[in-house]
């Protein structure tokens, strides 16, 4: 089985989000970048599936040279080789077009990625790639097994889950608890240095959206503390002041 895992390169979940250049650019100052947590789940499951049934595991990232340490980490976790599409990921359509092109070229049986990126939270790329390639796309997938030619999955729905089956090839947007995040070991880190990381060029410049400006939410006022022996006061405030009861 040939598996492709698409990863994002995003600010660590504890990052303070700030903007520069008159609120038109993300401020990378002091920010650590990681593999998107949802993509990291997809990658972890892909490593397990490869261990079970053999085949190959490729990671793909659409990003400029700065994303290579993140890609190397994915190689250290267990991918065999990597593709970096050398372009700034302008919008979902732009990224989906690149992934669809290189996924088709590589003839993958299974394409995994996170349910959404944690920077723009769009959750759209898997569905777009599916539609471009005419393949089923399933998301958010919280359990995935491959039996022969069939993918057996659980998809999270509001208030529960739905079990489904679909034939390879297909695309899945993944989330926990599909697997547990894997931490690269020393051997993985050493071998990642020499695994192939192929840099390719973008095949299309098409976009449909653009960010004009960023904005931070207004600062929160101070908390109003209520004595623990006077909980009736809290109920009164919720009713009369916040008007939510």
């Amino acid at each position: 089985m040939k598996i492709l895992v698409c990863i994002t390169h995003v600010p660590d979940t504890t990052s303070k989000i700030q903007f520069t250049d008159n609120n038109t650019k993300f401020d990378k100052n002091g920010v650590q970048f990681i593999i998107g947590p949802y993509d990291d789940y997809a990658l972890a499951r892909a490593v397990e599936l490869k261990e079970q049934s053999g085949g190959s595991l490729t990671v793909l990232n659409v990003g400029e040279a700065e994303t290579e340490p993140t890609i190397r980490k994915a190689l250290a976790i267990g991918a065999d080789e990597a593709i970096r599409v050398n372009a700034f990921p302008k919008d979902s359509l732009f990224v989906a077009n690149q992934i669809a092109h290189y996924a088709k070229e590589g003839g993958y049986d299974l394409i995994l990625m996170g349910r959404e990126s944690i920077d723009f939270n769009g959750g759209m790329v898997h569905g777009m790639v599916g539609e471009i390639l005419g393949m089923p796309s399933i998301s958010p997938v919280m359990k995935l097994d491959i039996e022969g030619n069939i993918g057996k999955m659980a998809r999270e729905i509001e208030g529960g889950k739905e079990y489904l089956e679909v034939s390879l090839p297909f695309i899945a947007g993944c989330q926990e608890p599909i697997s547990e995040w894997k931490i690269p070991n020393m051997r993985g880190i050493m071998s990642a240095r020499t695994k192939p990381l192929n840099v390719v060029e973008a095949i299309s410049e098409e976009t449909s959206t653009a960010v004009d400006a960023f904005q931070l939410p207004p600062a929160k006022g101070a908390v109003k503390l209520i004595d623990k022996d006077n909980v009736e006061e809290l109920v009164k405030l919720l009713k009369n002041e916040a008007k939510v009861l």
Binding site: F120, M124, R155, E156
Partner: protein, 321 residues
């Protein structure tokens, strides 16, 4: 010409977030001088469809096909695309949800439409077409322009107020042509909590963390939730250890909620948890540690032991009602 709204249902009941999307479309249509048509899939009673009119639609296209009761992504996308062409729409509105996202993404390609998700406000069309969306898991917003003629907006909960005083909508049965490819994903079973308020849709959420000590104490959370008509949630470690089901896990890697009231009990307020709740209108924190970071993100707080405070709070809420 009309704005089209994609409606989701569960067990025949139309989702409240979809009705909000209808109200959003109504406000947009009033600005543009167009109409609102909604498309609903599967077996739905007319009494449920009437809510779509009350929320602001002029017309409902009902695809009364049992096979569409389940959220089969490709089949829903094909059906919505046919409705979109029929009403000659230029804009599709839907509620942000796990199914909504998946269907919208396929439609963006099918309809050559620019898609923006997590939309928090009506578009600004004074120059170009700009929408505000929530990004960085609620930690920021992006003013986003759409450059395509066709547009899809996936609207975040509470972007507009739900309208309930709309007129009766005309219901038309709508036949769609679906291929077997549209049903290539076969749903074998579903496992759904019934009778509870669904977490992503709830107006009030009562959420417990590791401070609740164990699943045997969850009756305290459930009693308070019941008294408030609220949904229950939890922090990630609580679902990781299996005290609560995964679909209750709130935060960066779980469900993102946007209720009017979020009550957090025995949750420390780690940044990844806050990322899932920062769109709440009001936050109440109950924690025995006065230095718990969650108090910084709260509107109201009680420093105290959950096991003492919760029963009293539940009584006080019941006394009010």
């Amino acid at each position: 010409m009309s704005i089209l709204v994609y409606i989701e249902q569960a067990e025949g009941a139309i989702k409240k977030t979809s009705l909000e999307a209808v109200s959003y479309a109504r406000a947009l249509a009033d600005n543009e001088g167009t109409g609102v048509t909604a498309v609903a899939m599967g077996s739905i009673e007319n009494s449920q469809l009437a809510k779509v009119g009350a929320a602001g639609a002029d017309k409902v296209l009902h695809v009364n096909n049992e096979r569409l009761n389940a959220g089969i992504i490709q089949a829903h996308a094909s059906a919505v695309a046919q409705a979109y062409k029929k009403v000659e729409a230029k804009t599709l509105i839907l509620a942000k949800s796990s199914l909504g996202d998946a269907v919208a993404a396929r439609l963006a390609i099918k309809l050559n439409a620019g898609l923006v998700s997590n939309v928090t406000d009506l578009p600004d069309t004074s120059s170009g077409y700009k929408v505000k969306r929530s990004i960085y898991t609620g930690k920021a917003f992006a003013e986003t322009s759409i450059s395509t003629e066709h547009k899809i907006l996936a609207v975040k909960k509470n972007a507009v107020d739900l309208k309930t005083d709309g007129v009766e909508a005309e219901v038309e049965l709508f036949e769609v042509a679906l291929s077997e490819d549209d049903f290539s994903a076969k749903i074998t079973s579903t496992d759904q909590a019934t009778g509870d308020v669904l977490l992503p849709e709830a107006d009030i959420v009562v959420s417990g963390g590791r401070g609740m000590k164990g699943p045997e104490n969850w009756n305290l959370i459930e009693d308070l939730a019941k008294s408030l008509g609220a949904a229950t949630g939890c922090s990630k470690p609580v679902s990781d250890i299996g005290w609560r089901p995964h679909h209750e896990h709130v935060g960066q890697t779980g469900v993102k909620v946007a209720p009017t009231l979020y009550i957090a009990i025995g949750i420390s307020g780690a940044i990844q948890h806050l990322a899932g709740v920062n769109s709440s209108k009001y936050i109440v924190v109950i924690n025995k540690d006065a230095d718990a970071p969650f108090f910084k993100a709260a509107d109201y707080g009680i420093v105290g032991d959950a096991f003492e405070v919760l029963p009293k709070l539940t009584e006080a809420v019941k006394a009010l009602k």
